[in-house]
C-alpha cells in the first residue's frame, strides 16, 4: 500500500529551510550497500518533481571488493536544480555516508560548512581500521568544519524491520532505503514514487517489500519527528520546455536511436556485440526489443561481433556493433573490411579509461585518434561524438543516416560518463524524426557493384535480388566493376575516392555553432562529453563579463565545413579534453592554429571550476 507521508507532518521545532537554485548531493557506501539503487530512486523522484538533473555514478571495477574497504566504496552523485544543469556538479553540498571508508573517499569533495550525514553505527573499531582511520573522525574534531549529523542507521533500520520476519542479515541490507528516506526528508521530496516502485519491484517477495518500505518510511520519519536534523533544503522545479519527459542515460539513448533509425528506414536492426563495460547495456536494452524486429547477436568475441554485423549489412539490414576502446582495437580489421567493401555499419564506442584494460568503469576521451586513424592503411570512416546523454539518441540517428546514405562505417564516440549519466529527455514526436529513404537497385536497373553516384556512393544491392549477383571482399577492387584488381593506378584512385566520399558527408551536416560572440579573443573548443562542463564554465565567465566563446564538435570526420573559419575568428583556442591532447593535435594539423590543450586523464570528467579557472588564466581578467 502506498502511504503519502506528506500529510503526516508532526514537526514542532523550527527547522532552518535553505532555498537553493540547485544542490549537489552524494550518497556513498560499500559497493554491497545498494548505493546505485537508491541513487537511481532519488534521481527518479527529483525528475518527476520537475527538477533538471544530472547524475554521476561512481563505482569500483570489482563486483564486490572487500567489504568496508576504501577500494569497495560506491558513490552516486545527483545534481538537481530549478534551472538548466550541464554537469553533475563540481563540489558536494550534502554528503550521506554509510561507512567510514565512504567518508574517507568522499569527504575531500564536500564543500566546507556543508551537510554531512553519517551512519554512526558503522564507525566501529573494525570499520575504522578497514578504512585506515587511526582515530575516529567523529570524535577527533576533524569534521568540525561541516554540519555533521550522526544517525544510527543500522539500529534504526533493524528497529523498523523488527516485525517483518526477515533475518538480521537481510534487514541490514535495507539500510540504504533508510538513508534514502532521510535524504527525501532533507530535500523535501515525497517517498511516494519510490514506494510505488517497491510495490512493483518486490511484489514476489512481500517480506522484503515490507522491510524496504518500512526502512524508507523510518528514514523519512526520523527527519520529520526526531528533530535531530535542523536543516532542510528547498529546490523549486525547473522552468523547462513544455512536453513529456523521461530520464535517459547515454546507453539507453543510443539503443533507442538504433531502433528509431531502423524503424524510420523500414529495416530490421542487427546488433552484434560482445559484453564489455561500459557498453553492455546497449546490447541488453536491444535484446528486449524484439517486437521492433531487433536481432541481437551476442558474439563469442569482438571480432565475431563486427564481422557478423558486416554480413548483416551486406544482406541489407541496418547493422551495428557496440563496444569500448579495447573492443575497437580488436574490431579494427573488421572496420577496414567495411571500409573497402563500402558497407553501411554503425560502431558505437563507449570510451573508457585505458590503455589496455585500464580503468574499466571510469571515463576518458582517449579514443579520438583510434577512431580517426586506428586502422591499417588509408581507411577513412566517418566519426561522430555525442555531447550529452540524450544527445546519444540524436547522434546515433545521425550515424545510421550517414552509414546508409554514404555506404560507409560510422563510429559514434560516447563514453563512460555519458553512458552512466542520466538526464531528463523530452520525448520526441516520432513523426518529427527523419525518415530514411534507402535505395536498393531493382531488377532492370543498371547495376555494377562499384558504380558510384554523384556523391561517390556505390549501390547497395541485396542478396535475393535476381540478376545482381556480385562478389565483394577485402581485396582491392576495380572501380565500377568490382573485379579484383591489383593495378597501381586503380588502387590510388580507390584510396582517394574513399577519402573523398567521407569528405562529401560534410555537405549534409550542420555548421559549427558558436556559443557567445562570433569572434574574439578566446574560443573554447570541445568535443564529446565535455560539452556540459565547457558550456557551464563559458556561460559563467561570460556572465562575469569575460570575453570568451565556445564551440562544440559533434562531427569529427568530416569536420563541419566552417570549422576553419570559426577557429580563424579567434585570437586563441583552448581545447579541454579528457586525454593528453588529441583534438588539439588534430586541429593544429588541420588548420595550423596555435590551439592550446587543457588536459586531464584521471578517469573523471572536468569540473566546471577547472575549466573556468583555465579560461581566467588565459584571459588574465580581460573582458570583452
Amino acid at each position: 500500500m502506498v502511504v503519502s507521508m506528506e500529510k503526516n507532518r508532526t514537526q514542532t521545532n523550527p527547522v532552518e529551510v535553505v532555498n537553493r537554485e540547485d544542490v549537489v548531493v552524494r550518497m556513498a557506501g560499500d559497493s554491497g550497500d545498494g548505493i546505485q539503487l537508491i541513487g537511481t530512486q532519488m534521481t527518479n523522484t527529483t525528475s518527476v518533481f520537475g527538477n533538471d538533473i544530472s547524475t554521476l555514478p561512481d563505482y569500483p571495477a570489482e563486483i564486490r571488493a572487500p567489504a568496508g574497504t576504501l577500494a569497495g566504496v560506491s558513490g552516486f552523485q545527483l545534481h538537481f536544480g530549478s534551472h538548466r544543469l550541464h554537469t553533475p556538479g563540481d563540489r558536494i553540498n550534502a554528503l550521506v555516508v554509510l561507512n567510514p571508508a565512504a567518508l574517507k573517499v568522499n569527504l575531500p569533495d564536500l564543500e566546507p560548512g556543508c551537510l554531512l550525514v553519517v551512519n554512526e553505527d558503522a564507525f566501529t573499531e573494525i570499520g575504522l581500521s578497514k578504512a585506515a582511520y587511526d582515530e575516529n573522525p567523529l570524535e577527533d574534531g576533524s569534521l568540525d568544519g561541516y554540519r555533521v549529523f550522526r544517525v544510527p542507521m543500522d539500529v534504526l533500520t533493524a528497529e523498523a524491520c523488527k516485525d517483518t520476519g526477515l533475518k538480521a542479515r537481510a534487514v541490514s541490507r535495507c539500510k540504504n532505503f533508510f538513508a534514502l528516506g532521510l535524504v527525501y526528508w532533507l530535500f523535501d521530496r515525497s517517498p511516494d514514487t519510490t514506494l510505488r516502485w517497491m510495490d512493483k519491484k518486490f511484489r514476489a517477495n512481500p517480506a522484503v517489500a515490507a522491510a524496504n518500505s518500512a526502512s524508507l518510511k523510518a528514514g523519512y520519519n526520523f527527519g520529520e519527528t526526531k528533530e535531530l536534523i535542523n536543516v532542510r533544503f528547498e529546490v523549486a522545479p525547473a522552468k523547462i520546455a513544455p512536453g513529456q519527459y523521461r530520464r535517459v542515460n547515454g546507453n539507453e539513448a543510443a539503443a533507442f536511436g538504433l531502433i528509431a533509425a531502423a524503424q524510420r528506414a523500414g529495416k530490421p536492426l542487427f546488433y552484434g556485440s560482445y559484453p564489455i563495460t561500459p557498453a553492455s547495456e546497449i546490447l541488453q536494452e536491444l535484446s528486449k526489443q524484439k517486437r521492433f524486429d531487433v536481432r541481437t547477436f551476442q558474439a563469442e568475441d569482438e571480432i565475431a561481433a563486427i564481422t557478423s554485423a558486416i554480413g548483416a549489412s551486406f544482406t541489407g539490414v541496418l547493422a551495428a556493433t557496440g563496444t569500448s576502446g579495447p573492443g575497437v582495437a580488436l574490431k579494427s580489421e573488421g572496420i577496414g573490411l567495411a571500409v573497402i567493401t563500402e558497407l553501411p555499419l554503425v560502431i558505437i564506442n563507449v570510451q573508457r579509461a585505458g590503455p589496455s584494460t585500464g580503468l574499466p568503469t571510469k571515463t576518458e576521451q582517449g579514443d579520438l585518434f583510434q577512431a580517426l586513424w586506428g586502422r591499417n592503411s588509408e581507411a577513412p570512416i566517418c566519426v561522430l561524438a555525442a555531447a550529452t546523454p540524450s544527445d546519444c539518441f540524436k547522434m546515433t540517428l545521425e550515424a545510421c543516416r550517414i552509414a546508409m546514405e554514404f555506404m560507409t562505417p560510422v563510429m559514434l564516440l560516447s563514453d563512460s560518463y555519458l553512458s552512466n549519466g542520466v538526464e531528463p529527455w523530452r520525448i520526441p514526436d516520432v513523426e518529427s524524426l527523419p525518415r530514411f529513404q534507402i535505395k536498393h537497385p531493382k531488377p532492370g536497373d543498371r547495376f555494377e557493384p562499384y558504380l558510384r553516384d554523384e556523391k561517390l556512393v556505390r549501390p547497395w544491392a541485396l542478396p535475393g535480388t535476381k540478376g545482381f549477383q556480385h562478389r565483394i571482399g577485402g581485396l582491392e577492387k576495380r572501380d565500377v566493376t568490382g573485379d579484383v584488381c591489383q593495378e597501381p593506378e586503380n588502387h590510388e584512385h580507390m584510396c582517394r575516392t574513399r577519402r573523398r566520399k567521407i569528405d562529401n558527408i560534410a555537405a549534409t551536416i550542420p555548421s559549427l555553432e558558436v556559443n557567445g560572440d562570433e569572434s574574439g579573443d578566446l574560443l573554447v573548443l570541445g568535443w564529446g562529453s565535455t560539452y556540459g562542463a565547457i558550456t557551464a564554465a563559458v556561460d559563467r565567465c561570460r556572465e562575469r563579463g569575460l570575453g570568451v566563446s565556445s564551440a562544440h564538435l559533434r562531427y569529427l570526420d568530416p569536420l563541419p565545413s566552417n570549422t576553419g573559419d570559426v577557429l580563424g575568428r579567434f585570437e586563441r583556442v583552448l581545447v579541454p579534453e579528457i586525454n593528453l591532447g588529441q583534438l588539439t593535435t588534430y586541429i593544429r594539423a588541420k588548420f595550423l592554429v596555435d590551439a592550446v590543450g587543457f588536459n586531464k586523464v584521471q578517469g573523471k570528467p572536468f569540473m566546471v571550476s577547472e575549466i573556468e579557472h583555465e579560461i581566467e588564466e588565459m584571459l588574465d581578467g580581460r573582458t570583452s
Binding site: F256, I303, A304, T307, G311, V430, G467, Q469, R471, G474
Partner: protein, 338 residues
C-alpha cells in the same frame, strides 16, 4: 534447402562467374568447385538466393568463381559474416569456404561457436595441412614432425583433427570426403547442403606445390582400399574390398579379417543419427596408418537451428503486433511539463 524439381536450365555451367580460377595446376580446389556447381544445379539453387562466404587462404578465392552472391572476408571470420547473412535473411542458402589455417587457427574460436549454435550454414573446410597462400608454413593440421619453411627441424606442434573438433562442439552434420573422389564428394556435398543446421565437411585437398601427396594414402589406387573406410548408415564398417572390417573391442576399434568365424554382424555398425556424439568421435580418431580413415557422413542429427530460434523469438514478440516508438520512448516513468 529447397527440394524443387531441378529445372532444365539449371546446369552446373550457369553457376560459373566470368572470372577465371587462379589456382595452381593440379590443385584440389578445382575438383571441389566443379562438384559444388553440380550440386547447386542438382538442388535447383537459385543463384540470387545463394551466398558463398570465405575467409583468407587459397580456397577462400572460391566465391569469385561462382555467379552467386559472394563475400570474401578477412582471415578466420567467414563463419561470422555468414552468421550475419543468415540471421538477416534466413531464406538465403549460405555456404562457407574455409581452410585448415582459416578455420582452425585464426578462426578456431568462431568455428566452435558457430557449430555449437547450429547456424544453418554449409561449411566446407579444405584441409591441405599446409599454409599455401603464404607459401608453405606448417598449419594446425600438419603432422607432428613435418618439415616446412617455418619448421625446418620438423614441427613440434601436435595437430588438431578437424572432425574431432567439430564433433566436440556437437555439430549436427559432420562428414569427410576427398577432392579426387568426385562422386563421393558430390554426394556428401549434396547431403550437407540439404541438412538443416551447421553442416561441417572436411575435404582432403591436395596442395600440389607446398604439400603434394599429403593424402597419398587415401588418393592412390594402390593404397586407398586399405587406408580408407567408406561409412554407410546402418551398415558395418567394411574395407579392403570386403576383406577387412572394424570391430569394437571394449571402447576401442580394432581391425579384423572377415571370415574364419568373423562375420559382418560382429563388426561395428555405423549409426549417423545417434544423438550422443561418442561413436562419431571415435570414428574421427581413426587415423592412418594405424587405421583406415573413415570417409562419408559421420553424424547427421536434427536440432533446432540458431537462425530459426532467433527469428522465432522475434515472431513470438511480434504476435501482439509490431512495436511502436511512441510506446518504447514512454516505457518506465514519464512526466509532463506544462
Amino acid at each position: 534447402m529447397s527440394a524443387n524439381p531441378v529445372s532444365p536450365e539449371l546446369t552446373p555451367k550457369i553457376y560459373a562467374s566470368d572470372q577465371e580460377p587462379r589456382w595452381c595446376p593440379g590443385c584440389g580446389n578445382y575438383s571441389v568447385l566443379t562438384q559444388v556447381k553440380k550440386v547447386l544445379a542438382k538442388l535447383g539453387s537459385k543463384r540470387e538466393n545463394t551466398v558463398f562466404v570465405s575467409g583468407i587462404g587459397c580456397s577462400s578465392r572460391f566465391p569469385y568463381y561462382l555467379d552467386t552472391y559472394g563475400f570474401h572476408g578477412i582471415h578466420g571470420r567467414a563463419m561470422n559474416i555468414a552468421t550475419g547473412v543468415k540471421l538477416s535473411n534466413p531464406d538465403l542458402s549460405v555456404w562457407v569456404i574455409t581452410g585448415d589455417g582459416d578455420a582452425l587457427s585464426i578462426g578456431g574460436n568462431h568455428l566452435l561457436h558457430t557449430i555449437r549454435r547450429n547456424v544453418d550454414l554449409t561449411i566446407l573446410l579444405f584441409n591441405n595441412r599446409i599454409y599455401g597462400l603464404t607459401k608453405g608454413q606448417y598449419s594446425p593440421t600438419s603432422p607432428f614432425g613435418q618439415r616446412t619453411k617455418s619448421s625446418p627441424a620438423g614441427s613440434v606442434d601436435f595437430p588438431l583433427h578437424p572432425l574431432s573438433v567439430a564433433i566436440g562442439a556437437e555439430a549436427t552434420f559432420v562428414a569427410r570426403s576427398l577432392d579426387v573422389n568426385v562422386h563421393h564428394l558430390e554426394h556428401v556435398l549434396e547431403r550437407a547442403a540439404r541438412h538443416k543446421g551447421t553442416s561441417f565437411i572436411e575435404i582432403y585437398q591436395n596442395c600440389s606445390i607446398f604439400n603434394d601427396q599429403a593424402f597419398y594414402f587415401a588418393r592412390a589406387k594402390e593404397t586407398k582400399d586399405d587406408t580408407t573406410v567408406y561409412l554407410e548408415h546402418d551398415r558395418p564398417l567394411v574395407f579392403a574390398k570386403g576383406r577387412k572390417g572394424i570391430r569394437l573391442h571394449r571402447m576401442d576399434p580394432e581391425i579384423v579379417e572377415l571370415g574364419n568365424g568373423v562375420k559382418e554382424d560382429d563388426l561395428l555398425f555405423h549409426n549417423e543419427t545417434q544423438k550422443e556424439p561418442s561413436l562419431a568421435y571415435l570414428l574421427s580418431r581413426m587415423r592412418y596408418p594405424e587405421f583406415p580413415e573413415p570417409m562419408g557422413v559421420f553424424r547427421c542429427i536434427e536440432r533446432p537451428t540458431y537462425d530459426d530460434l532467433v527469428i522465432g523469438q522475434i515472431e513470438d514478440a511480434q504476435e501482439q503486433g509490431p512495436g511502436h516508438l511512441e510506446d518504447l520512448f514512454r516505457e518506465g516513468e514519464t512526466w509532463t511539463v506544462e
